[in-house]
Amino acid sequence: MTVPVVGGPGGRPPQPPLVQLLTPEGERVEHPDYSIDVTPDELRAFYRDLVLVRRVDAEATALQRQGELGLWASLLGQEAAQVGSARALAPQDYVFPTYREHGVAWCRDVDPVTLLGLYRGVNLGGWDPAEHNFHLYTIVIGSQTLHATGYAMGVQRDGAVGTGDPARDTAVIAYFGDGATSQGDVNEAFVFASVNNAPVVFFCQNNQWAISEPNERQTRVPLYQRAAGFGFPGLRVDGNDVLAVHAVTRAALDRARRGEGPTFVEAFTYRMGAHTTSDDPTRYRIEAEVEEWKLKDPIARVKALLARTGQAGEEFFAAVEAEADRLAEHVRSECLAMPDPEPVSMFDHAYRDPHPLVAEERAWFAEYHAGFEQSGVDESGLAAAAQAQR
């Protein structure tokens, strides 16, 4: 069903229709273009994913508050957009995330603990992208959309589109935010993808905010409309409806795999929390907006459907909660156990081939550092002494 949805308060204009298959109240509705059959198993699996990623996210937020992470970018409210889309991916598909795609990472079997390394500051991205077909988090807004497009051009050159072989045909998905649509890079990605008919899905989580700036500072028309002007389809989906997101993304990925080119999916959702743990949203947005979006919670509606239709009962819900508890405990204990990197390791991997300057600096550092260790002086000893003197 295509329902008109009105945006948050704050005087925003009425919003255009968006694809929805599950209402905030948990009612299944139909859509002519995106009908979908969901087995009870599948629905329960979605529910489990949603709950688990939310719990991971909450645990990470707590760890940050306790000083175990330097920063955390919460996905709260965006679970359905991430799980629904990521569960539409085939194993061979490739994902280019932003810094907030913890739910997508989950679906790509990246241990959530691994995600924390970056936010704890022990590495810059700890997982092996090739192992999960899940690229590293990209922090510079929009950059990864070009990487995704180039990767998709590589897929084309490998003959891995349009063969009809479901294990071979490959799509690429690039995640980005509403703010990112203003970046030149994202629009260049649209140009390159369109001209090359590259098998890439541009998945925009429009969570209404780019830090403190509302959508109105980035665009005066709905973002999904951007695509048409570049020559490929765009559409808006209820980003808090895991089923609709799933159906829409699956169709877009299938289209890409068939060799029919890019699609722009705007998942209309809401950032329920702060931009990151460094941010204070009370400075720029009103609580009423958040309250309104609470009524559209992506998990509550799946639970309501499961419960009302008898596809799951208390036992199931309790089991998922218990699993979430275990997962959170795993995340917490592994995070605390995460060792700091060896100082000299910072010289690794700036280059793959030998590099005399780095080698020279590494040698100097190793010797310098060893000097401190030999003399038994903590390297910050002098600094502390000096500060004490002041």
Binding site: L124, L382, Q387
Partner: protein
């Protein structure tokens, strides 16, 4: 306004406010500078007091910020752009290097581009990638730009206003990890010229030149060195392009030794230019080669490594020792 203690962040804020009061053509623009007051609150309260037309929350596009600022300048405005973090200035690099820096020259002097680009820079705040860089050399190598950086509230206050008053484009690098450092500010004082260096501490054995966030580190090193009987003269460069070479040379002619300290990677960092120039001018005075203490030739590492990556008191003293050993 009377002398008082304030922070660098607040002093920049006051400098901006003062400039906006003095000249209605001064605008502030950037990501989140309006309602939020900037992620470091440096523009706090400005939109409330000067309105959305003068304090502009821009779309999320750095090239667009600088490019439209250029257009605004051509229309007679004096835009002050905030780049949210050092590592996000590169999307605007083309507009800065090919347009902002060159347009006045291109016009044979007919056009002025009084645009200020404020960049919170440097590491030491435990941040994720791209939030701790020191890209100043990329701009100092670019003819047509002026590049300055402050190390204390008074400089922050005055240099902000001087940069805005300049008819040339000025890049102002603000030492983000020192934003909350306190210091004296006397708004009635006579400020140094924008491009003058300053002897921040007099000494006799070795000159140590630094700028921005490293000035405090070097001053601490000088204190520590004093305890061991070595007298360091500390020069706060303040301006990176142009360099105030005279102040530096005068100091080196006294001390005969120079160590340059910055967070940016040593290779082609400001220390390289300073070493080359000072050596040329002080060839017969120098008892030791100019030594440099800087970042390693690595991308900025994960934050748990940054203490090891960044020059600190001990690395400064190590270089001082090496300079004295020549």
């Amino acid at each position: 306004m009377s002398p008082r203690t304030t922070t660098i962040a607040k002093a920049v804020n006051e400098g901006l406010r003062r400039a906006m009061e003095d000249d209605p053509k001064v605008l502030v623009m950037g990501e989140d500078v309006g309602r939020l007051g900037g992620v470091f609150r440096v523009t706090d309260g400005l939109q409330k007091d000067f309105g959305e037309d003068r304090v502009i929350d821009t779309p999320l596009a750095e090239s667009g910020i600088i490019g439209t600022a250029i257009g605004l300048a051509l229309r007679g405005y004096r835009p002050v752009c905030e780049i949210q973090f050092d590592g996000f200035i590169y999307p605007a690099y083309d507009q800065i290097v090919s347009q902002l820096a060159k347009m006045g020259y291109r016009s044979g002097g007919k056009l002025s581009l009084p645009v200020v680009v404020r960049v919170p820079y440097g590491g030491g705040i435990g941040a994720v990638e791209h939030h701790s860089e020191s890209p100043e050399a990329y701009f100092a190598h670019t003819a047509g730009l002026r590049v300055v950086t402050c190390s204390n509230p008074a400089d922050a206050y005055f240099m902000t206003q001087q940069a805005i008053r300049s008819d040339d484009p000025v890049m102002v690098f603000e030492p983000k990890r020192r934003y909350w450092d306190k210091g004296e500010l006397d708004p009635a004082a006579e400020p140094l010229p924008l491009h003058a260096a300053r002897v921040a501490r007099a000494g006799t054995d070795v000159t140590v030149a630094a700028y921005g966030p490293m000035v405090r580190t070097v001053l601490e090193a000088a204190t520590a060195a004093e305890a061991e009987g070595r007298s360091l003269e500390v020069v706060d460069l303040r301006s990176l392009s142009p360099l105030d070479l005279d102040t530096l040379v005068a100091s080196v002619e006294r001390t005969r030794r120079l160590v340059v300290v910055h967070e940016a990677p040593t290779f082609l960092g400001l220390g390289a230019e300073i070493a080359a120039r000072v050596t040329e001018r002080c060839f017969y005075h120098l008892e030791a080669p100019v030594l440099r203490v800087g970042g390693f030739h690595l991308p900025y590492p994960a934050s748990r490594l940054e203490e090891e990556y960044l020059p600190d008191l001990d690395r400064v003293l190590d270089a001082v020792d090496r300079a004295l050993a020549f």
